[in-house]
Symmetry: C2
């Protein structure tokens, strides 16, 4: 029985999790595959760094090109992250006819096009389940389980950091700043949390998932993005009163006018399965023509979960090498669907404003919405404080451009003191 | 480009859903596979029956053996259900070197052993995602995503009928009988609902899922089963007061003493993701060493969802035929783990009893639990009515045999008038 020889790029936490998982389940994996996996080469930045998983010193190299060019290596496992030199290394691996397993969402979201074209030309395989939503096997589900079906909508809670923050604000009434500081203390948020809280991480993941879900090439800049900075605990409490929970959602939808692709905080009905996703957990909700509504829920990050799903990719890659399957993972982008501009999408809103408390003001505000074709579903005067009143509006779905125009005009009205919250409603 | 030729056994609702799905997505499927799927033969019981999906009359036959023996057929799709003649037909298909897609849980649960041995001898493929939990791609997840990991626990809400009934009892306070009648009126329950409400359907599904999850052969009779008959709305309301929801769970767990396999109603903590699974939906919760806690949620039945997932199986089978992959779906039973007897398993209980309302009774009852090593976590006197009191106990986990012995003794005590509920707690 032949051995499948692995070359690793990177030996950080996910790589350590992967190698620990492969070692722990070595015997079962051998029996499942009918052959052995052998680690033959590992590129690291620092030969002397202390590591969670120790690898014999003579396998280590500081030159990643050695790994992708090593004729002994059957399968390259890229866990170094970033786009440079990861992208060129993956392309070189494909040129040498090697299959690649990667958990690198940056390179996928930015250069998916180029990578898929390259792998198809060589017949090698490209596996990237670990690049989105940690251990949740959503890439595999979209590629396989929906292969004979048509996905209509995909909505995910794909960023654990922001979901942790929003859950703490919702359940414990904390402020955004307190919840963020706690997430940083617990290691759920980076020292510089920009990528997570501005929604950029979710934007990258949606670009990858929408590619697969809608069989079309999605560019990162096609995805509208708005983060959770400035969200106030008060509005999460108000949302609860209306029967909603606030989540940072990554949403893709196929419509007759094209794809809708957006990441922003959104009110979700309490009975929707996504509403129950708490803390650092991730979930992806998929609605398809045939299968209806499904949800995939699990840990969205972590070295152990991501390591285990990278191990599953390695097994699938190894199985395809053993069976000599060429082009086992062809590009799934069959179409070139247009993306709808955000301004044209019809969305309901939750709007909280502080206004002057005197006769005629409500009529003036309502008239402004009306002139912009924004129709009101519910209006509640939430609190009064001296000469000011707080009003919360729930609108019916209205064109994004119309809502933004009405908000701009309202902000200029002397009777409207401020608009502390304008949050979109999902559904 | 060659065509992959399909022979169908059965043309009921799931088969119609499958064919409609394949037809609707014909162009995308051709582009994904690089070849066409063609229906060449269909066995039906009645040639003249009206059908949801119409098939040219000359493809129909009343003899299913014609389909499995037809040399033109590459892939047999068995959607007739039952074990006789389905089992022999599948075996004959394997003998002719044909791959088989099946959504037949009876034949899988009862004869999985034999079928896997037969398919392995021939190198053909065997695909059965549609046999458990409708469209939820849990078979694929267990076979692929956990291939490099170790499943520790699998807990499912795998029967939509009983979950519909329990949800109606919980949310609308209906009686079991009312909720069952409503489920029957809506087509969610059969005229004879025995299979569902006694838990036998869930038992079969757990046998199939546990096979895959724990890589061991599970026999149907190894799975302890208890249905939801006799469950009272009052106990669902009490459970809510304690922070629990009552669900019919199918539970598998790997312990050092062997596998625990059981289907019974159980109290689930409100914050557990399974607690949010309402109505006819299904969900499977999986805890593994590497990936941690994941949940797969979706429609557990229905001709459209099941048809779409059978279509996905057909695509996978076709892809393996095109790539000439032999033994693409080897048996995953690597081990022969023992199954723990139910009596030895340690389980917490919710127990409601009606007792005489006089001094000393509570002490007498508590003493009985104590003598059987059943330790009490909470006790609440829920209602008083004349000379009778109602007491609800929540126990700590205790050996099933000890709990049953204490209940038997309590039933014989004159001060204990009745024990209307003894429900197990999950976790």
């Amino acid at each position: 029985v032949r051995k499948i020889k692995l070359g690793f790029l990177g030996l950080g936490v996910v790589a350590s999790g992967t190698l620990a998982c492969l070692q722990r389940n070595r015997e079962a994996i051998m029996r499942r595959l009918g052959c052995e996996l052998e680690l033959v080469r590992v590129a690291v930045r620092n030969l002397e760094a202390p590591r969670e998983f120790s690898v014999p010193r003579d396998l280590l190299t500081r030159d990643p090109w050695e790994v992708v060019r090593d004729p002994e290596v059957d399968l390259v496992v890229e866990l170094m992250g970033g786009t440079d030199p990861a992208k060129e290394l993956i392309l070189e691996a494909f040129r040498s006819g090697k299959s690649v397993v990667s958990a690198n969402k940056e390179v996928l979201a930015k250069y998916g096009d180029e990578l898929f074209a390259a792998v198809e030309a060589t017949g090698a395989g490209f596996y990237f389940e670990g690049s989105v939503c940690g251990a949740i096997p959503i890439v595999r589900a979209l590629k396989q389980s929906y292969a004979g079906d048509k996905v209509l909508e995909l909505v995910g809670i794909v960023n654990g950091t922001t979901n942790y923050i929003l859950t703490a604000m919702d359940e414990e009434g904390r402020s955004f700043e307190e919840a963020l500081a706690e997430a940083q203390r617990l290691g759920y948020a980076e020292a510089d949390p920009t990528d997570d809280i501005e929604g950029f991480d979710a934007q990258r993941k949606l670009a990858i998932l929408a590619d697969l879900a809608f069989a079309t090439r999605v560019n990162l800049q096609d995805v509208f993005v708005e983060g959770i900075k400035g969200v106030q605990a008060k509005d999460l409490a108000n949302a609860r009163d209306f029967g909603y929970v606030l989540k940072l959602l990554a949403m893709g939808k196929a419509t007759d006018e094209g794809l809708e692709l957006r990441v922003h905080p959104a009110l979700v009905e309490e009975k929707h399965p996504l509403a129950a996703v708490r803390g650092v957990h991730n979930a992806v909700f998929v609605r398809s023509e045939g299968m209806g509504e499904m949800m995939y829920y699990g840990p969205g990050a972590g070295s152990e979960p991501t390591g285990a799903i990278v191990a599953a990719d390695i097994l699938e890659a190894a199985r395809n090498l053993i069976h000599e399957v060429r082009n086992a993972t062809p590009c799934t982008c069959l179409y070139d669907l247009p993306v709808r501009p955000m301004e044209e999408i019809s969305i309901a809103y939750y709007i909280r404003m502080v206004v002057e408390d005197r006769p005629g003001v409500l009529a003036q505000l309502a008239d402004c919405f009306g002139r912009h074709s924004v129709s009101i579903k519910t209006v509640i005067q939430k609190a009064v404080n001296g000469s000011a009143a707080e009003i919360v509006w729930l609108t019916h779905p209205a064109k994004e451009a119309d809502v933004q125009a009405s908000l701009a005009e309202l902000r200029r009205l002397p009777s409207c003191k401020s608009i502390p919250a304008a949050l979109r409603v999902y559904g």
